[in-house]
């Protein structure tokens, strides 16, 4: 896997020669975009933070990978944390941060000590005086949202905050802050040193009704048929993009790219593909995911907190065979209201799975 190639601080050496501005220019030229799902140009994000006024700045590595069916960051942290740390050092250097945090998913506690050692080793070798602190999450899904991470690191309740202000302007402790995903930061040194590096190559977390679930390194634009083939998908009928991304109808020739997925009103997000075989009912899938969102809604905003309870209740009613046309209408209206009015990105996307399933698999709901 390309993402696991060791760079051994070659990029850091090059960055020190180039200086911050040219490094960010280079990253923009290479087209490195955020791997968390929003696909924002990493170099540009750093520039915002660099230009923002503040006597102190921070870098946060978002290692709170909590989306169902997503496990690519774990692979990187387990097998090539050195590149991530190098990425953090470079990011901090570019924006002018003296302190960085790794916000580690609570369930990845077992990686904590290992990461501590790697941080120490890499910082020593890089002769960097950056401070990197690991903060462990407590298991809340919402703490994958960057503004909730900020609240959590500040010892506040893990609640998201409206934007703007965006973190590069006003983030951790109200100081300019860059927050990047693990995979993004691991790609930073690779993009800097490898001429043939391409932003199109991503890690895909593939799971569900497949023989070989796991992380695959593929180009964006690969067809679903190819992925189904390598992972050994059995009679697929649908593919979910995580839980929040919603689903599409499976077809061999469906091209997996942000645009194409978006056209189906789903979201590619962090490239997590959950295959669903023909044996399953999409209603069961919907109930399972709705249960997850009901459990993980942080409780801050009305539509997500209250709405997800009723999404599940309506699905249960339909499952019992008691659903009528009004219930379907209400369910759809409710999902749209949550999508349209929820406070954070997670709330806004938590009903995509119902809306897309209703669109493509209405038959499963009858």
């Amino acid at each position: 896997m390309k993402i696991l190639e060791e760079v051994n601080l070659e990029a850091w050496k090059k960055v020190k020669e180039l200086g911050a501005d040219k490094t960010m220019e280079l990253l923009k030229k290479k087209g490195l975009t955020g791997r968390g799902g929003a696909c924002f140009l990493t170099g540009l994000k750093w520039e915002f933070a660099k230009k923002a006024r503040g006597n102190e700045k921070f870098v946060i590595c978002n290692a709170d990978e909590g989306e169902p069916g997503t496990f690519k960051d774990k692979l990187i942290l387990d097998n090539n944390p050195e590149n991530v740390i190098e990425g953090i050092i470079i990011a901090a250097y570019c924006v002018g941060a003296k302190k960085a945090y790794i916000y580690l998913r609570g369930e990845y506690h077992y990686l904590h000590n290992k990461l501590e050692n790697v941080i120490k080793k890499v910082l020593e070798n890089a002769k960097s005086d950056l401070k990197i602190e690991i903060v462990e999450g407590a298991g809340a899904y919402i703490c994958g949202d960057e503004t909730a991470i900020i609240a959590s690191i500040e010892n506040r309740r893990g609640y998201p905050h409206f934007k703007p202000p965006y973190p590069p302007q006003e983030g951790l402790f109200n100081k300019p802050t860059v927050i990047n995903n693990v995979e993004t930061l691991a790609n930073v040194p690779l993009a800097i040193v490898n001429d043939e590096w391409s932003d199109e190559v991503r890690l895909f977390s593939v799971s569900g009704d497949v023989a070989k679930a796991g992380v695959y390194e593929l180009k964006v634009g690969t067809k679903l048929g190819e992925i189904a083939n390598v992972a050994g998908a059995k009679d697929p009928k649908a593919v979910y993009f995580g839980a929040a991304g919603g689903c599409v109808k499976y077809s061999d020739n469906f091209v997996v790219s942000a645009d194409k997925v978006c056209k189906e009103e789903a979201m590619l997000g962090a490239c997590s593909l959950i295959f669903v075989s023909k044996k399953r009912s999409m209603l069961d899938m919907a109930m399972n995911i709705a249960q997850f969102f009901k459990h993980e809604s942080c409780g801050k905003c009305t539509p997500c907190r209250e709405g997800n309870v009723h999404v599940l209740r309506l699905l249960e009613k339909i499952k019992r065979g008691e659903g009528n046309e009004d219930d379907f209408g209400l369910l759809e209206k409710l999902c749209i209201t949550i999508r349209d009015t929820a406070l954070c990105g997670l709330g806004q996307s938590c009903t995509n799975h119902v809306l897309t399933a209703l669109k493509f698999f209405k038959g499963d709901f009858k």
């Binding site: 809340a140 309740r157 905050h161 409206f162 703007p164 009901k294 459990h295 993980e296 809604s297 942080c298 409780g299 801050k300 905003c301 009305t302 539509p303 907190r305 209250e306 709405g307 997800n308 309870v309 009723h310 209740r313 009004d326 209400l330 209206k333 409710l334 209201t337 999508r339 349209d340 009015t341 929820a342 406070l343 806004q348």
Partner: protein
């Protein structure tokens, strides 16, 4: 500031660049419904009732936390907006106790009001049937989580403004609740009873602990019934009867109280005048004899509990020993006045009408035991008068009873931030200089700034003054004193924003605009009075001559002063 143009509901309007949609709309005559937004609190964008449609933006936007931009086209009531707003309301209602007619907040509830305005006649969602235990442990505040809609106003007021941290959020998702720490109740918490959460709460989740029934029972007994009303009540009571904010209703209030059966209607104002005489005397004594400075006023029971909880060891010597005006009048009624009318104090029932939920706590302090029988807030008095069929608006005016009904302008201004200090300065300046000074308007300590300071020169001595309201602002000064770095000689602290006119028992909303009007009403009452210095009050002079002796005398100390003790909390 740059002015930009945008369109709201197809009409071109002007707005300040960077201001929030809800504020721009408000200035243009559009009152967008909202629960979590409060002009004085940090914006959180949680309730999603204030959503609007902005052309070019995919999702609906919460108008309380979306800034305006030039050329923006906003709709505050498109079909999409109304539908979403209605559904979010219905979601709240499905998780709410819907027994509106038997709710304490009935007719004052914002949830009820918006449900009515949005013409919501049912909710299509199954009721979640919440069954949370009602917390009745506090003597001031009743907490009914079944009616909480999680707008977090109370939490923000308590933590960010007051820095009391009595309540916070627990659990997640639909199980989220607001509660004191670690499952304790309100009584065990660090709550200072200020009631700012009560005024902020849009629903019946937080209400004052009601003593109305006790008063009705007393009114129907054969006891001798006395009532006293705090300085600020006259400026706020009218609002409960749809009289515009800032209209003093002193005369009607007195008539109403007499009409429902009180034998005597006294004015807490005379206690304020006595309080000033004692406090100014104490201050002058401290200045002359190099006593502990700064001296801090102690009219506010919520601040006293705050001080006793968080700063007792360091600051108890800085606190004036003077009782609050209400406690002074209460003590005089059950001693001096009872003797005067030859009644056993046990046969007198005293009801105090206060702007304040903390008063309910204060009168139960062991130091004041047996003095006041009931405390009603302004809101409770309004409810009582309505229950007893008082046609308030059409009542004629009448005067307070004597001997405890006469007061000066200095007492009226006790009701707003800076007023106690201004009144104290009027008297202390005369005392220190030995003259009858003409300049008595200390305008620098008026207004809504949270920390106001000034320096006055009295008899060649420079006196540094500071006035703060909200305990959060007070904490800054107290930290200074603790470190021995306070530059001040005399400090006034009021726990509530705006002072008593913004008290926890006042009619909501305690918005800046309303508070300014109430303040102005009190200033007008003061300016209209002939006597505006507490020590010039003939009734006070007579009282000292006949009963109390000199300010600071032994009897004065027994009846007009108090002591403090360390308070603990979990």
């Amino acid at each position: 500031m740059k002015i930009i143009k945008l369109k709201i509901n197809r009409k071109e309007v002007e707005a300040k660049d960077g201001e929030f949609i809800i504020d721009a709309a408000k200035r243009n005559g559009i009152d967008i419904p909202h629960f979590c937004y409060n002009e004085r609190l940090e914006r959180i964008g949680a309730c999603r009732i204030c959503v609007v449609e902005v052309k070019g933006m995919d999702k609906l936007q919460a108008s309380c936390c979306t800034q305006v931009r030039g050329g923006m086209e906003i709709s505050t009531h498109s079909p999409r907006v109304l539908e979403a707003r209605r559904m979010n309301m219905q979601l709240l209602l499905a998780n709410h106790d819907l027994y509106c007619t038997i709710c304490k907040e009935n007719l004052m509830c914002k949830l009820q009001r918006y449900a009515s305005e949005l013409m919501i006649e049912d909710t299509p969602f199954e009721s979640l049937h919440r069954e949370d235990e009602v917390d009745n442990s506090s003597v001031s505040i009743r907490r009914d989580n079944n009616k909480c809609i999680l707008c977090e106003q109370c939490v923000r007021v308590c933590n960010n403004v007051q820095t009391v941290y009595a309540i916070g959020m627990v659990n997640r998702g639909v199980k989220t609740r607001i509660t004191p720490n670690f499952g304790h109740n309100m009584k065990e918490s660090s709550c200072i009873n200020c009631g700012q959460c009560v005024v902020a709460c849009p629903t019946g989740a937080l209400t004052e602990k009601s003593d109305i029934q006790g008063v009705i029972n007393a009114l129907n007994s054969d006891k001798y019934l006395i009532v006293q009303t705090a300085p600020s009540i006259r400026a706020t009571l009218g609002e409960l009867f749809d009289i515009p904010a800032g209209t003093p209703v002193t005369g009607k209030m007195v008539t109403a109280l007499r009409q429902i059966g009180f034998d005597k209607v006294f004015d807490t104002n005379i206690g304020a005048d006595i309080c000033i005489v004692e406090e100014a005397n104490e201050f002058v004594g401290r200045v002359k004899n190099n006593g502990v400075l700064p001296m801090i006023t102690t009219c506010c029971p919520a601040w006293i509990k705050f001080g006793e909880q968080f700063y007792y060891e360091e600051l108890n010597k800085n606190m004036s020993t003077c009782r609050s005006p209400q406690a002074i009048v209460a003590s005089l009624i059950k001693t001096y006045y009872a003797k005067n009318i030859k009644k056993d104090p046990k046969d007198i029932v005293l009801v105090d009408i206060m702007p304040c939920t903390a008063k309910k706590y204060e009168v139960l302090r062991p130091e004041f035991k047996g003095e006041t029988d009931f405390v009603l807030t302004t809101v409770e008095l309004g409810k009582l008068l309505k229950q007893l069929n008082v046609d308030f608006v059409h009542l004629p005016d009448s005067e307070f009873d004597n001997p405890l009904g006469m007061s000066t302008g200095a007492a009226d201004i006790f009701g707003h931030t800076g007023g106690v200090m201004e009144a104290a300065l009027r008297t202390a300046a005369d005392m220190l200089s030995g003259e009858d000074l003409k300049a008595i308007d200390y305008t620098k300590i008026r207004g809504m700034d949270e920390i106001k300071e000034t320096e006055v020169e009295i008899a060649g001595k420079k006196i540094k003054i500071c006035v703060v309201h909200t305990t959060g602002a007070a904490r800054k000064l107290l930290e200074q004193i603790k470190k021995g770095k306070s530059p001040y000689h005399f400090i006034e602290i009021m726990a509530c924003y705006g002072g008593c006119i913004g008290g926890g028992g006042q009619p909501p909303p305690n918005s800046k605009g309303v508070l300014k009007k109430r303040t102005q009403a009190l200033i007008n009452v003061d300016e209209a009075k002939k006597i505006r210095k507490s020590h010039k009050n003939p009734a006070v002079i007579k009282l000292y001559k006949e009963y109390l002796g000199k300010p600071g005398s032994e009897r004065a100390h027994k009846l007009l002063h108090t002591k403090y003790s360390k308070k603990t909390y979990v």
